[in-house]
């Protein structure tokens, strides 16, 4: 402020002390001051002498007066009692209760939550800090205890309200800013919650600590901190700093060489503080917090963000209604509700049907099974709704919930139908696969593995385990999609039978000898060389579905370690079989639709060996398999190294061919048009 001229000046009489900040009542444009803790003065701009203005003496000491637009001034007493000014003026001498006994109020703040004023104040007693929330109209008072922080205590507080949650920021003496979330809608009347806090920011500028004295919130991602920066070996200097809390970066700073009073206010996008003998006002503007802005690479683009993707918020809303009512954290819930208010309107315009999917599902909750399924069928056969994908997810979730509540109920075909015909994903219906695993519905699992792009490794592993453990006999009876194995496995299957016949007939003496040997030893030896499929076609098809699914090694490996040894050996045997099978073809691929590729086979083989290395070494039945596998791999490596050599020679030949045309003399034809 360059030209500081007081617009009005009032003073109390000598000996009187103004004990709390003067506020302005926005509705009446009156000023309210308290002097000598108890004496209230109210005046207007036109009054000149403070002695002659309205005076009221109260029965208790006032801590602060808060003035809120539309809310009227609110008086907070040192004992924790709260009155609105109107109530107080009706009977100035009314008794004010003491709610905080011998705690001392350190800070207070008032907000409007919708229509009702909310007062928050923090108190201290013996190093413990408490937060009180007073809702005036409901005259409800909540007391919270702040989580203890070792060796440091709060120096300064600031708070803002958003979506019915008060975010309390505390500046601690360990130069960190902590964030505490206090939900306003707390119905239970339990005594003394402990508020947990999370560190938001460490006030350190290139290794030097900023000793914050006061701070204000600018917007949801920015705070301004006034404090002194102490560099080692230098005199500390006071700085006004603006921080991005989202990326924990210092956005800007301003050195204040003249001292400040350590107080900072923020009002209408302006920061106020005293600097030396003047009041300094700094305009600020916080841009939308983005990583680019945080690292200083933000381009000043004024184009508003227009998003045109699927409206996930509607999904969140419906899911809330259907299933996640209790799981969602309060914060998320209210936030999504807030953002939805506008969006739901637009949805409603498009879709005049007053019943949303969620509501239909809610209505169907208690109907009979057949009615329920019919309704659902109708629902999903409806013409494409704007958020059809999300609705399908809700339907499936509803189905699964019903299955959970009714253990006998399992609409196998219906679920199969949905999964096969709709583009679902794991995240849309996370319980579906868990349920199928529980029910050992391998067909559904197979389809899910084939169709879902985002199955977590844990579930993939669970599927693998189930597939490996299920008996072949059980699988024979089950309908599984065999298209991935039909092209290579059935012939082999028959061959196996044919071969055993031959053995039985004893056509070939040499072969007979072989078979005799193998018959004596374990049957697994027959398959240990990788030329016979160790599993039935159904199981093979299921395993292929696992091989085809997407995974990340780091996440899969810990789970894979839990696979029982026998199953691991069986799986490895199958992988070995696939490997041998695929290397038979010149293009190293297996025939058929959705058959595993050689790199998938290799990756899983490596992964499995990694996971069960020690087990494999110890297990006697794995020994021969491993040695065969090793031999085969070695042969392949040799083969490929030979190929490499040939490739090198061929390339050299080509190079020589190329060089031929750059010989030293040639006669060529050139046509210029």
């Amino acid at each position: 402020v360059t030209d500081q001229k007081p617009l009005g000046c009032w003073s109390v009489k000598h000996g009187q002390i103004i004990t709390c900040p003067v506020v302005c009542n926005f509705e009446t444009h009156e000023y309210i001051a308290v002097h000598d803790d108890k004496v209230l003065r109210i005046w207007k701009n036109t009054d000149i002498n403070l002695d002659k203005v309205f005076k009221a003496t109260l029965s208790a000491d006032v801590y602060r007066i808060h003035s809120l637009p539309y809310g009227g001034p609110t008086v907070l007493f040192k004992g924790g009692g709260v009155r609105t000014l109107d109530v107080l003026l009706e009977a100035p001498q009314q008794e004010i209760e003491n709610v905080i006994s011998d705690e001392v109020i350190k800070w207070s703040e008032a907000f409007m939550d919708g229509e009702q004023p909310v007062l928050i104040f923090a108190t201290e007693k013996d190093g413990d800090f408490f937060v009180y929330i007073q809702k005036l109209k409901m005259s409800s008072l909540h007391k919270y205890k702040l989580e203890q922080q070792e060796l440091s205590k709060p120096l300064s507080f600031t708070a803002y309200i958003k979506n019915q949650i008060i975010t309390l920021l505390c500046l601690y003496s360990n130069d960190s800013v902590y964030k505490v979330l206090i939900p306003l809608q707390q119905n239970s009347e339990e005594e003394e919650h402990i508020l947990s806090k999370s560190q938001l920011l460490k006030l350190s500028i290139s290794g030097n600590i900023l000793k914050g004295t006061s701070f204000v919130v600018l917007d949801k991602d920015h705070i301004a901190v006034l404090g002194s920066l102490a560099a080692p070996g230098e005199e500390s200097k006071e700085y006004l700093t603006i921080w991005n809390t989202k990326f924990q970066t210092l956005q800007t700073s301003k050195e204040l060489p003249l001292a400040t009073s350590g107080q900072l206010w923020c009002y209408e996008e302006k920061l106020f503080f005293t600097h030396g003998k003047v009041l300094t006002v700094i305009m600020y503007k916080c841009e939308t917090s983005s990583l680019a802005a945080a690292v200083g690479k933000h381009k000043d683009s004024q184009t508003p963000d227009v998003s045109s993707f699927v409206n996930w918020n509607t999904l969140a809303d419906e899911e809330l209604v259907v299933s996640f009512r209790s799981q969602e954290s309060v914060a998320l819930k209210s936030e999504s509700k807030m953002t939805l208010r506008s969006k739901r309107n637009t949805v409603a315009k498009v879709q005049p049907d007053p019943l949303s999917v969620g509501q239909i599902l809610l209505n169907l909750k208690d109907t009979s099974t057949t009615v329920f399924e019919d309704e659902l069928r109708q629902l999903i056969s409806k013409a494409r709704m704007p958020d059809f994908q999300a609705s399908i997810g809700c339907v499936v979730t509803a189905l699964i919930n019903r299955c959970k509540t009714n253990p006998k109920y399992y609409p196998r075909n219906f679920l199969l139908h949905i999964v096969q015909t709709r583009d679902l994903s794991y995240s849309l219906c996370p319980d579906l696969m868990a349920l199928a695993l529980e029910k050992k519905d391998v067909h559904l699992l197979q389809i899910c593995l084939q169709r879902f792009p985002d199955i977590p490794e844990e579930i993939t592993y669970a599927c693998l385990k189930v597939f490996l453990s299920i008996s072949e006999a059980y699988l024979q009876r089950i309908d599984v999609n065999l298209e991935s194995v039909i092209c290579y496995i059935d012939i082999e299957f028959n061959n196996k039978e044919v071969k055993s016949e031959i053995v039985e007939n004893g056509f070939n003496a040499e072969l007979e000898q072989d078979i005799w040997n193998t018959k004596i030893t374990d049957k697994t030896h027959l398959t240990a060389d990788g030329s016979f499929c160790p599993v039935g076609p159904q199981k093979a098809a299921l395993l292929n579905a696992v091989l085809h699914s997407a995974y990340s090694e780091t996440f899969l490996l810990p789970h894979l370690k839990n696979l029982p040894a026998q199953q691991a050996v069986l799986f490895l045997r199958y992988l070995y079989y696939l490997y041998v099978k695929s290397s038979e073809k010149i293009n190293i691929t297996l025939p058929g639709i959705r058959s595993p590729t050689v790199s998938q086979i290799m990756d899983w083989m490596c992964l499995l060996l990694d996971a069960h290395f020690t087990v494999m070494v110890m297990l006697p039945e794995a020994k021969e398999l491993l040695s065969n596998l090793h031999k085969f791999v070695r042969a392949q490596v040799r083969f490929y190294s030979e190929l490499n050599k040939i490739e090198g020679s061929l390339r050299e030949l080509q190079r020589l061919n190329h060089q031929k045309d750059s010989q030293t003399y040639s006669i060529e034809v050139l046509e210029l048009i």
Binding site: D661, S662, Q663, T664, Y665, S666, I667, E668, V669, L670, E671, L672, I673
Partner: protein, 679 residues
């Protein structure tokens, strides 16, 4: 347009020599000194051929435009830039000279010698005079730099740099440069040094460091290790805010003096831009006001413009690499189908092969006769060859060195070739800068100093007679460097170093006229065999046609000037080095530079800037009818690169002499082995 049978010749084994030295003048390792004219689009306007006995380690300009060179021969040489030869040389008296520097006023030369002495020479009109020795210590002086105020000289040696006070001759400071590298027992060679006006001495050394010293206190200010191998060369911009260094790995780096913070007064040297334009040692760097110039042992001269100094994108802003000389080293005997290749100390005469077949575009025809290396003529003595020529009939070969002129008669009897030296050639003012036989092989024109051209008459069997010496009427200090003779033997055009083109009438040996002066170097010229129009190519890529009989530019030439040449044509960076014509197609002009061969058809419209200049491949895909609308005058072929020479043998037979860069790279010394990923 028609088809050509192209003799694609790649057996010209030219190995360009690597440059060293400074500024516009550039010395190659074979001792040749080249002068590049920046104003004329970096045209290599002057070449002083080398001499085996004269290596050039240092070049410097002094006293205006006088160029001095010094080398391991121990002599300081002054070059005569108008006669393109050594004007005089003085023995330095200190053994091999490693370095030389002129003071800022250009009145004194300092040389650094093998014996560790720094000697001062006074530059006087007509030569240099020894002045005195500065304080002598052991160890060769590898580099020298004057303080801009001429009060002190900094000299780099092995492990040490010294600062001399010029007027007293005393060593006022010794700085051990390997002081900071205790454990290394290798000696540290200070390869290059620069004295800044602030008193800072910049050195580059064999440890790969660029260091900044405070000479008065003898302290190291800054040290930047730029390379694991030696930093060989260093140059400071005139404003002393930028330095370019060249390393033995072929990389060059720019250092800039930049403020530590924006608005801060404290400045530091910061390594800003790395460039890797060379494969071998960067032996010389220079810093012009707008460009970094570097020359390497890979025989390339690279001019890298500093984009921040460029106002707009254009011809000046392009990176330029020069590998091959801007003049003709090949001559062709059209009728006899012979090629004469000029090397630094010998000539090779080849007969082209032939074929009986014909074919389509792009086909390689089977040879029925292989090309034949007929004769190798070795020049005696240390002097390099200035110029050479073979007569159109192939029976005469002439060449000149700095002090001698040789004429040979070549006789072909069946398969055998005999070479007979013509005795008693007339004594002429030597060296000759260009030789040209007349079309009927009856006379030889010898371009000589002071704008004069000697005319020799060739006599059978094996004799010659000096007929006349042509001279411009007003006299000329510069030597003639290009000649063109008309097919009918009537006219001769001669270009001298001042870029004036004089035309002589050979019937009466009289000066006919002078082509209007154009402010750029002539790179090639030729006289049309039918119309006697002189076609001139300038280094700014402009083309002119001048009618000799009418003594004025032709209508077509005026049209070209009015219309303007295509932008891409003007932005080419290598000059036209040869022009020839097709007698069967009078409207055609055949010209070429290093990267393209072009047939200019005067009967076709000139292309606009919007038109595609290189349109041959497009045209080939179009149907016959659609082609007509797309045709324009420039028919450019870029198939043959790098093209050293192209000529028309007969109406549909061309010869192209290429020198693939890889072929001579293999003949260069191996570069320093560099670890590359994946090797």
């Amino acid at each position: 347009m028609g088809e050509f049978e192209v003799h694609r010749v790649r057996f010209f084994g030219l190995v360009p020599a690597g440059p060293r030295g400074g500024r516009l003048a550039l010395a190659r390792t074979d001792g040749a000194v080249e002068i590049y004219n920046f104003a004329a689009n970096y045209f290599q306007e002057k070449v002083i051929p080398g001499n085996e006995a004269r290596s050039v380690e240092a070049l410097c300009w002094a006293a205006g435009d006088r160029l001095f060179g010094a080398g391991l021969g121990g002599e300081i040489t002054e070059y005569d830039l108008s006669r393109l030869c050594v004007a005089r040389s003085v023995d330095g008296g200190g053994g091999p000279i490693w370095s030389m520097a002129a003071n800022s006023s250009g009145t004194q030369l300092a040389i650094g010698c093998e014996d560790g002495s720094v000697k001062l020479f006074q530059i006087v009109p007509g030569g240099i005079q020894f002045e005195r020795n500065l304080d002598r210590r052991k160890g060769r002086i590898l580099c020298l730099s004057w303080h801009p105020l001429d009060t002190h000289i900094a000299a780099g040696s092995i492990d040490i740099l010294r600062v001399f006070h010029v007027s007293s001759g005393q060593t006022v400071q010794r700085i051990m440069v390997n002081y900071h590298v205790h454990k290394v027992k290798r000696e540290c060679i200070v390869w290059s040094i620069a004295f800044l006006s602030s008193g800072t001495v910049v050195t580059s050394d064999s440890f790969g460091r660029v260091q900044f010293w405070d000479w008065e206190r003898g302290t190291l200010l800054e040290s930047h290790t730029v390379s694991t191998s030696a930093v060989l060369s260093l140059s400071v911009s005139e404003k002393e805010d930028s330095i370019v260094v060249g390393t033995s790995t072929g990389a060059t780096y720019q250092f800039q003096l930049l403020p530590v913070k924006i608005g801060s007064l404290e400045k530091r040297w910061v390594r800003t831009k790395p460039f890797q334009h060379h494969t071998h040692d960067v032996r010389a760097v220079a810093h012009s006001s707008t460009a970094l110039i570097s020359g390497g042992l890979d025989a390339q001269l690279v001019i890298r413009p500093l984009m921040e100094k460029m106002q707009k994108k254009g011809y000046e802003a392009a990176l330029r690499k020069f590998t091959f000389p801007h003049r003709r080293l090949v001559s062709c005997a059209r009728k006899a189908r012979l090629l004469l290749f000029q090397f630094s100390q010998h000539l090779e005469l080849w007969r082209l092969g032939s074929t009986n077949e014909t074919g389509k575009d792009g086909e390689v025809l089977p040879l029925c006769r292989m090309p034949e290396h007929l004769v190798q003529l070795k020049s005696k003595g240390p002097e390099h060859i200035y110029c050479s020529c073979v007569s159109p009939c192939g029976s005469w070969v002439a060449y000149s060195t700095a002090s001698r002129f040789h004429l040979y008669q070549v006789q072909y009897e069946g398969d055998s070739v005999s070479v007979k030296k013509v005795p008693k050639v007339p004594k002429l003012l030597l060296p000759a800068y260009q030789l040209q036989f007349s079309a009927d092989s009856d006379s030889l024109f010898i371009a000589s100093a002071r704008g004069s051209v000697h005319v020799l008459q060739l006599l059978e069997p094996g004799g010659c007679k000096h007929l006349h010496t042509l001279q411009p009427p007003s006299g000329c200090p510069e030597a003639v460097y290009l000649l063109a003779v008309s097919a009918d033997g009537h006219w001769l055009a001669a270009v001298s170093g001042d870029w004036a083109i004089h035309i002589y009438n050979l019937k009466c040996f009289k000066h006919h006229c002078t082509v209007p002066t154009y402010n750029c170097a002539v790179t090639a010229l030729a006289i049309h065999p039918i119309t006697n129009n002189l076609v001139i190519a300038y280094s700014d890529q402009q083309l002119f046609e001048f009618s000799i009989p009418e003594k004025q530019y032709t209508a077509w030439s005026r049209t070209v000037q009015n219309h303007g040449l295509h932008k891409l044509w003007l932005e080419r960076d290598s000059p036209i080095t040869h022009i020839t014509f097709n007698p069967k197609n009078p409207s055609h002009i055949l010209l070429h530079d290093i990267y393209m061969f072009c047939v200019l058809d005067k009967s076709l419209p000139l292309p606009d800037n919007s038109a595609l200049l290189m349109n041959q491949s497009t045209l080939k895909q179009l149907p016959e009818t659609a082609r007509q609308r797309q045709l324009h005058a420039f028919k450019i072929c870029k198939k043959f690169q790098p093209l050293l020479f192209a000529d028309l043998l007969d109406e549909n037979c061309l010869v192209m002499v290429e020198r693939p860069i890889m072929d001579f790279k293999t003949q260069l010394p191996l570069p320093i082995q560099q670890k590359k990923f994946g090797t």
